[in-house]
Subunit: 272 residues, 2 copies
Amino acid sequence: MKRTAFFISDGTGITAEALGNSLLAQFDSIQFEKITLPYIDSVQKAQEAVAQINKAGELDGARPLTFDTIVDSGIRGELSSADAFMVDIFGTFLSPLENELHSSSSYTVGKSHAISRDGGYEERIKAVNYALENDDGARTRYYDDADVILIGPSRSGKTPTCLYLALQYGIKAANYPLTEEDMEEQRIPSALQPHRQKLFGLTIDPNRLSAIRNERRPNSGYASLRQCMMEVSEAESMYRRERIPNLNTTDYSVEEISTRLLVQTGIERRAR
Amino acid sequence: MKRTAFFISDGTGITAEALGNSLLAQFDSIQFEKITLPYIDSVQKAQEAVAQINKAGELDGARPLTFDTIVDSGIRGELSSADAFMVDIFGTFLSPLENELHSSSSYTVGKSHAISRDGGYEERIKAVNYALENDDGARTRYYDDADVILIGPSRSGKTPTCLYLALQYGIKAANYPLTEEDMEEQRIPSALQPHRQKLFGLTIDPNRLSAIRNERRPNSGYASLRQCMMEVSEAESMYRRERIPNLNTTDYSVEEISTRLLVQTGIERRAR
């Protein structure tokens, strides 16, 4: 049986989505249809949400689940008239936290928080620009400013990882593709030599790399398994020889690569 | 008094961070030092975490807060020996959810879930590549593939928004900067004409725009308030005249711009 799950917030809904998705992922056997309702910041919008929730329940033949981070008690009150299994994310934890901290939360006093431009926001946008301008070895003269420089064969995951590190954590990450010439030289490319303590290597299963490259350039030498095996083997031997910390990205998402990189390097988040 | 907060997970820690940060943001008056401990996936790592938590508590003179999404009961058991105020994110909600769904969660049976490469992961990486390759009007011939095409003055937030939409939601977003020439023509640029139903306009307070541009090119004509006022006014008048849905980004983060764009356009997430 299908169940519908709503992630509801007076803001972006990102927290409700993150927690709701994590919880639902624990129930393999059930199929969920997921709907996010962000910016439910008025009683009228809450009434519309209630209508949508109840309609989904009628269609499913089972009451929907809702995960909400609504702060305002009037809006929450309206929402709670829905025929749904409701998970009150903030309400559940804030009262015990208030006791622990001997302090009233803004939730209790009915004040909402936008994530808005605090929490290192400017750092994050600057880091995105840095990642874009120092992508793919395009420029090497700003490596002094880098927090980390990713190296690895083409399509091993460097660029998406740099962008995620920037957007999520405000970390300035450049990346430099190891070319065949670099491999043949059997040493760290000269542009990277002064920054070797910032290097982090990515590697990947050659079969997976070949599949990814084949989507870009089908049946090319670049995408051939032979070429991929050679490049991966040379990169890995450089990491070993030069003791460059590194990670095999084959089974990891960008989030996992990024967070594991932070653990391995000890780089501090500039924003969260 | 400072309190230390730990976000602890056997995976990336992203859910624990998202919820923990949202909850702590409700307590304005207290200063928190935040530490993420991801990949706590063995009893030994849990013991090390306990030592770190207890040490922070001694330094602070107050017990730390922990927000965890640890699934394994052996690891959780070890963690719970710490002298901390512990928020068991999964445990709190999963038992009621199990009752509602008449189903056992993987949590109960001790199985962990990596976020890994499911949930539209390939879509997300393809969308990142799409955003990079169709940034800043670089190419216009792949606009047929776009889910949305952002337009607006230079530095109004188009590129970071496209990247966020791609990384978070797998949405293919191109962007096209409105140039002075475009403005003077007083019509939608010809490359955009066939795709006008995909257009979404960004606008921004001219003072803010001038400040952003001044960081890039100090004291340039490009960054002058006069130029910014002119470009913003022309862009806004184009949005009105052509009835292009649009958003003022001045007070919004990339997350807010992106989620509001989804609400206004009705574009569906391809991944979550």
